[in-house]
Every structure is written in structure tokens, then in C-alpha cells.
């Protein structure tokens, strides 16, 4: 049953990624793909007690867990941001923005990558107030209240930084903004896979960032239209 589900999931991923490729054929541009895994024993994620916020607790049939180290089948590591940290010519912010949701007293997605200067919209889909408090150090820190039914908060970041996001009212809420200087990035899926598309030929440093472990880098030389596979492995500690 489980394997069938994953086969189906894989099929869906394959079909959708094929569609993406078909939609924009970048002549001569390559792809960097691979998988993020861990060795060792990762910490056990703790179930979150939302009883203090009944409107959120009832949205989850089974309690959700903390998300600092989320693993998948085959030692896969989810929510790892893989991006070109050096060698990229830099990119202006795309016209389209990114969306960050507060739903069921959780941040969706847990890790949200975006480009410097890109529009960021933060929605409150809950029947309760949240305060969005991104703990920026390089960018300026701010803290805004967003009661239920408020319009989205419209903002952006001007400097690259990994910013922890928290809600002081619901202390279990925890997420990250990954503000990047490049348009070439991906976040690893639950099976640890990632795919950075539309990369021009060149020599690049690829960094994999995980919120709890030290970032890792690898050098990649990509030919025109080439698809290169690189893998990252993080050493997991049980705490």
C-alpha cells in the first residue's frame, strides 16, 4: 500500500516536472539534480500540543510534530535549501511573488525560499490572531500582528539571509525564510530529491542549507544543456 502510494507520488512528480520542462525549454541551459540524505540518527520530532489554541488543534486529526529535522524514506532529508551560492551572475527579482501561509497554527511551507527583493505575501488562514516575527539579523527585524481575516502582509527582503520566523502567541510555530541572491534554488522534497533547472553552463558552488546542521558546499561544472547529479549527506545527531 505504502509503496504503491510512493510509486504514484513519483509518477505525479515525474509527470509534473516533465510538464515544467515542456513549458519552458531553455535552450542550452542545464539542470542540477540530486538527493539530500542523512547518516546517523536524527532527533525524533516531538508532537505539538495545540490545546491552548482549540481552533488550530481541531484542524489536525493527529498532532503535528516539530519540523527542525524532517526525514523521509531511505534516509531522505526534507526542507533542505539547495542553491547556487557562487558563480551565478545574479538575477533581478521575478515579477511573481511568493506566498507564505499560517494554517492550523503551522507555517506552510516550513521553509520558504525567495529571491532578494521578491514580493512576499503572508496570509493568515486561521480563525485566530498570529504575530509574524521574522528574527532577521542582517535585514531589519519587524514584528506584526495579523488577526483572523486580515488582509495579507506584503513585504520583501533586500539582503540575502536565512531568517527564522516565529509567532510569539503560538510558541510552537517555527519556520524559515531563505532569502537568496540567486534565481537557481530548490528545496528538497520528502524523498530528499531536488532539481535546479534552467542553469546556464558554468562553474558553480552549490550550497545545501539545513536549519539545524552546518551548511555544505560542492563545486559543479556544468556544460551547456547538461544535467548533473550531485548528492548531499548531512551527519545527523540524535538531539
Amino acid at each position: 500500500m505504502k509503496t504503491r502510494f510512493f510509486l504514484m507520488l513519483a509518477a505525479v512528480v515525474l509527470v509534473s516536472s516533465a510538464m515544467v520542462v515542456a513549458a519552458k525549454p531553455p535552450a542550452g541551459n542545464g539542470t542540477i539534480t540530486g538527493k539530500v540524505t542523512y547518516t546517523g540518527t536524527p532527533p525524533k520530532m516531538k508532537p505539538i500540543d495545540m490545546s491552548k489554541e482549540p481552533s488550530c488543534a481541531k484542524q489536525h486529526a493527529t498532532p503535528v510534530t516539530t519540523e527542525n529535522v524532517v526525514t523521509g524514506p531511505g534516509n531522505a532529508l526534507e526542507y533542505v535549501v539547495v542553491y547556487i551560492s557562487a558563480g551565478d551572475s545574479g538575477a533581478s527579482a521575478p515579477a511573481s511573488g511568493v506566498r507564505y501561509d499560517q494554517k492550523g497554527c503551522q507555517y506552510l511551507p516550513h521553509v520558504l525560499p525567495m529571491q532578494v527583493g521578491q514580493q512576499l505575501q503572508i496570509f493568515n488562514d486561521d480563525q485566530t490572531s498570529h504575530n509574524i516575527h521574522p528574527l532577521a539579523k542582517v535585514n531589519q527585524e519587524w514584528n506584526k500582528s495579523q488577526p483572523a481575516g486580515s488582509p495579507p502582509i506584503d513585504t520583501k527582503y533586500e539582503k540575502p539571509e536565512f531568517i527564522a520566523v516565529k509567532c510569539n502567541i503560538h510558541p510552537w510555530m517555527h519556520g524559515y525564510f531563505a532569502v537568496l541572491n540567486t534565481s537557481h534554488y530548490a528545496v528538497s522534497a520528502n524523498d530528499g530529491s531536488f532539481k535546479i533547472t534552467d542553469v546556464p553552463a558554468g562553474k558553480y558552488t552549490i550550497t545545501a542549507w539545513q536549519e539545524q546542521y552546518s551548511p555544505q558546499t560542492q563545486e559543479v561544472t556544468l556544460g551547456a544543456g547538461e544535467t548533473k547529479s550531485i548528492n548531499f549527506s548531512f551527519k545527523a545527531l540524535p538531539y
Binding site: K52, P54, T128, S129, N131, I132, H133, L135, K137, Q140, E141, W142, N143, K144, S145, Q146, P147, S150, P151, I153, N168, I169, H170, P171
Partner: protein, 301 residues
């Protein structure tokens, strides 16, 4: 052998003396060498111009005299007294400040910093610096600005507009009470404003130090002033670096004034708002719904 022993014995006083002469100055060796990133920082306050560096009145010299003990030589809030202080001294290298007239996420104006230095922070170790002259305080503001590169590259935010206060009456207080429920102020500040809401015990500031929400029942001055105007400014700008968010995007100005009027009833002070509420509460005891998780829509609305 004996000769050697006596030689050592005769040298003993010298060794002891050497030990004391080299070791004794250590207690005075705390390095107060300041490390600002921008010694040409200036502050302009009401016709005064403060300078971070300067001959006679230099802000950094005053800083070294009065501030370094807590805020540290680098302005990062790690002075020698910092360990024993709670809440911790401000880290000027981050340029994140609680008391601002400017929106959340922006730098405060020179005037905001000047007021903070002058006023001090009630319920903390930061005293009021009124004994210093206006010029000296202006220089200190320039010194504070010398520790973060943000002041080189960014401008202070535009102060928020605070419209004239709406009339104080019981309707306004009741509307404010409904907002206290709706905006979920009670989650931290507690249903009766005692600073004991369900999230209160989990709160930390941006440096992960535990921090308490304001307890209205103490009646102490707010950190950022004592007037209704100051109170309005506190929740419409937020106290950056703390869990207190800005409500500028979610409260209309007239609503904000209603909330101000209600918050005054939580303090044990003889304010107009408090006496209005007392009279209302005595006459309408059965109608008042509790604030908190069981209140439903909350307040009297």
C-alpha cells in the same frame, strides 16, 4: 643541596613580590577601549546636534564614562554588569529599538533615542539621564548610533501619524474591551491584564532571553512613556526585538484610541477611563462577559 634550598628561600620574597606586582593590576584591566563602527555619527534633536566623537563633549567619551559598564565597549550589550541585569542592556550593534515613533522594522528617529536616554526605562536597570545636559544626551544619541553600520546606510523611518485622541467615554472603553479580546492581547497580557496569559510563560526576546509581558495591574509607567499618546504609539509601532507586535496593519486609528481607553482601566490609577469603567461595571455586573478563551466574541459587543 642545602645551598640551593637556601638560595630558593632567599629568592622567595622576590618571587612573591614579583607575583603581586604583576598580578595585582589585573582587577583594573577590563578593556574599555571602545570599538564603534562609525565615529562620525551625528544626531539632530530639536536644534541640538550631537556628535559621536569630539573634543570636549564627545558622545563616545560620555559613553565610556556612563554607559560602557552595561552596554559594553562594542555597544553590543555585553558590559561587565550585563550578566546581572534583566532585561539585558540593549545591543546597539543590531540597531533594533523598542521605543520608536516609526513603523516596525525601521530605524528610530534621533528624537526617539533622545527621549529614551532622557526618560530611562521603568522596571529595568536603565536610569533616566536627566542629570546630563541636553547637549550631552544629544551626544550620547550620536554615540549609540556609532555602533551599527545600519546608521550609515539607512535612514530613520517616517514617524507614524497619530490623529487627535477620540473622546473618552464608556462606549469607547467598551469597544476597546472587545478589541482586547478580538486582537487576542489577553493571550500574553492575561484576561485582566496581569501579564499572565496562556502564552506569557513561553515568551522570549529576539536574543532568546525570557521576557515578561507588561502587567497592567502594577500601574508602573510603560517603558516607552506614560501618556495615552505614548500608549497608542507602543502598540501601533510594536516594541521591536520583543514579542510585542505592531498592530498598525490591523487596527484603525479610532479603534486604537478605543483600545488605549480600555487599557487604562486595567491599571490601578485614578484615570477618567478607570472611573467610567468602575461605574459601568457596578451597574452592569451581569452583562459583562469575561475576557479570555471562553468569551466567544468577547467584550460587551
Amino acid at each position: 643541596m642545602r645551598k640551593l634550598a637556601s638560595a630558593i628561600a632567599s629568592m622567595l620574597p622576590v618571587v612573591v613580590l614579583l607575583f603581586f606586582t604583576t598580578a595585582s593590576p589585573c582587577y583594573a584591566q577590563i578593556d574599555h577601549h571602545l570599538t564603534p563602527v562609525n565615529t562620525s555619527a551625528e544626531a539632530k534633536i530639536d536644534g541640538l546636534t550631537g556628535h559621536a566623537s569630539g573634543e570636549q563633549q564627545g558622545g563616545l567619551m560620555l559613553y565610556r564614562r556612563f554607559c560602557v559598564g552595561c552596554h559594553g565597549p562594542a555597544g553590543d550589550g555585553t558590559g561587565e554588569n550585563a550578566l546581572w541585569i534583566d532585561p539585558k542592556p540593549r545591543d546597539f550593534t543590531l540597531a533594533v529599538f523598542k521605543c520608536r515613533s516609526t513603523p516596525t522594522g525601521t530605524l528610530p528617529t534621533d528624537d526617539d533615542l533622545y527621549k529614551s536616554v532622557t526618560r530611562g526605562f521603568d522596571t529595568t536597570n536603565m536610569p533616566a539621564w536627566r542629570p546630563l545636559t541636553d547637549q550631552q544626551r544629544a551626544n550620547l544619541v550620536a554615540a549609540v548610533k556609532s555602533f551599527s553600520p545600519r546608521w550609515l546606510n539607512e535612514k530613520a523611518g517616517t514617524p507614524i501619524t497619530i490623529p487627535a485622541e477620540t473622546p473618552i467615554n464608556i462606549e469607547s472603553v467598551l469597544r476597546g474591551r472587545a478589541l482586547f479580546q478580538k486582537m487576542e492581547c489577553w493571550k500574553c497580557h492575561g484576561p485582566a491584564g496581569h501579564g499572565d496569559g496562556p502564552s506569557a510563560s513561553t515568551l522570549t526576546d529576539s536574543k532568546d532571553n525570557p521576557i515578561r509581558p507588561y502587567n497592567f495591574s502594577t500601574g508602573t509607567r510603560f517603558k516607552c512613556g506614560e501618556t495615552n499618546h505614548d500608549l497608542y504609539q507602543i502598540f501601533m509601532t510594536g516594541l521591536d526585538g520583543t514579542p510585542m507586535p505592531s498592530f498598525a496593519d490591523s487596527l484603525k486609528p479610532e479603534d486604537a484610541w478605543d483600545l488605549v481607553h480600555f487599557l487604562r482601566t486595567l491599571q490601578p490609577l485614578n484615570t477618567q477611563e478607570a472611573s467610567l469603567w468602575k461605574a459601568y461595571a457596578a451597574a452592569h455586573k451581569s452583562e459583562i462577559k469575561p475576557i479570555g478563551p471562553d468569551a466567544g466574541s468577547g467584550g460587551s459587543k
